[in-house]
Point group: C2
Chain length 142, copies 2
Amino acid sequence: MSLHDDLLEKARASGLRRTKALEAILTCLADHNRPMTLAELTSCGHLSDQCDKATVFRLLQRLSDKGMVRRLGLHERAAYFTLLLPGVHRDYLICTDCGSIEPIDAPCPVHKLEEEIRQETGFVDLYHELEFFGRCPKCASA
Amino acid sequence: MSLHDDLLEKARASGLRRTKALEAILTCLADHNRPMTLAELTSCGHLSDQCDKATVFRLLQRLSDKGMVRRLGLHERAAYFTLLLPGVHRDYLICTDCGSIEPIDAPCPVHKLEEEIRQETGFVDLYHELEFFGRCPKCASA
DNA sequence: GTAATTGCAAATACTTTGCCACGTA
DNA sequence: TACGTGGCAAAGTATTTGCAATTAC
């Protein structure tokens, strides 16, 4: 079963209806494998073209409520949304010039600290976000 | 020399004029010791009351250009701004319910990874942001 | 005196909601 | 059929800019 089918199934199981917009959004997020803005998703080829941004927005909201999507702030004015896959954590490397976003594959070194914070502060539902910003080689040489 | 004076001096040295608004903003940021939004700064007691938000915005922009302030996205719709002190790096713990923001005093475990990324990717001017999100004990029990 | 800075107001950008039509279950 | 969902359009919130008046140097 593909990632896309898996996600769709999960969304269905959590109460969402199987609509074109839902499929399009899940496909788009899964294909790109990086956080995307509402605008990007709304104009993301194939099926998404047909979806109003309000629809995409509300779907992302629902998916976020179900814990399948997370909303990020990455310095841009627009919010970013990314798939939340069980057991998968991802950090990002972002170019402050051209805005490119790429996932970092190195293991995240923060989990230990997160555990300490959980115990010392009593915070619950703890998670973290880690982003690296800089200028990519291409932008740096330009 | 106080932190405030130190900052003012630095701002002056980098070409900014010594105005009421500049002083007010530096004071406010230094006093609060945490990221603040444009709205917070604009209505931050004492002197800041007198500053238009456009003024505060443009000053933050200039301070950011000079490397004295950094702009953060912390999940809220509004952007946050924080002082950038030489040699000081700060991570934050944020309550997703009440929005409280507190600095984490534990040493940041990310510098090693940052160095690896610098070397492997060729990114320059690299820095990172690390935030922990969760619900604080007060909100969790409510 | 000159150039940076300010305030006000308007423009822009992005997000969020209301309402009724529509499609899925 | 019933209720979640979709599209359109409008409202809301935050950011950003234009311009003339003011202020720091």
